[in-house]
């Protein structure tokens, strides 16, 4: 390519750059958004399950299944992801850290004082899932 491109050649090169960037972003299949969506869904279902399972054994089984599900999703979707969109950590860190805080607080408060309160666990389902859902939405749009 000549170092003296015509305006048409320059425009062609500009079009080329946009096409390449869009193609590579699409090649990532939005794996991180899928992971966050799966994480949010399993979080929600676990808390809904806790609202229907007042005994500790059932709660332990649910939490164990939750951890196994998240581990599987991480292995299937995040490991070897072909593309990491620009600024992923800026979307992932706030989502995960907010989830972590809410998850810790709701589990502690719920298991300590509201173990048999279905209302507590159902409300917590929405509260704890929200940052993951927002993160998934932001990652999908990136």
């Amino acid at each position: 390519m000549t170092m003296n491109p015509t305006p048409e050649q320059a425009q062609h090169l500009l079009t080329l750059t946009h096409g390449a960037a869009d193609s590579l972003r699409a090649a990532g299949q939005n794996r991180h958004a899928q992971w966050l969506t799966g994480f949010a869904t399993s979080t929600f279902m676990t808390y809904v399950g806790l609202s229907t399972t007042p005994d500790d054994a059932g709660g332990l089984v649910l939490l164990g299944a939750y951890m196994a599900t998240v581990a599987f999703l991480s292995f299937a979707l995040r490991r070897g992801a072909p593309v990491t969109k620009r600024g992923l950590s800026g979307r992932l860190v706030p989502a995960m850290s907010t989830w972590g805080v809410l998850y810790g607080i709701t589990l502690f408060v719920g298991l300590e004082w509201f173990r048999e309160s279905s209302l507590f666990w159902l409300v917590s389902a929405f509260v704890v899932t929200a940052p993951l859902a927002v993160g998934a939405w932001r990652e999908g749009r990136a």
Binding site: M3, L16, A27, G28, K85
Partner: protein, 106 residues
């Protein structure tokens, strides 16, 4: 004050073109990587629609210029290479695109 004519604008912009990035293949590679934090070699190859050897050659030139960095790893037992644009590469790309826009009359 008289404004510069379009030829003068084009001449100034042409002088700002980056010789390393100006090749269509290398320009596409850097532009694609600039849209990501990191991308796997095969994904970049498919996005830019070139062969493995052509991409390897382009990456070698870009790495030598400090515009792209490569990280080798494994997915299971399969070796993989991930590419990312450096901050120097992103800056060079922005300057080059600005020059192209000036030439294109945007």
């Amino acid at each position: 004050m008289a404004l510069p004519d379009s030829d003068a604008v084009g001449e100034t912009a042409r002088s700002r073109l980056d010789e390393i990035i100006h090749s269509p293949v290398r320009l596409s590679v850097v532009a694609a990587l600039a849209a990501t934090d990191e991308a796997e070699f095969g994904a970049v190859r498919d996005a830019v629609q070139i062969s493995d050897s052509a991409l390897s050659k382009a990456v070698t030139v870009l790495e030598d210029a400090g515009y792209v960095s490569a990280r080798k790893g494994y997915v299971g037992k399969r070796p993989r290479t991930w590419l990312s644009a450096t901050s120097a590469g992103r800056d060079a790309l922005q300057a080059h695109l600005a020059a192209l826009r000036a030439i294109a009359g945007q």
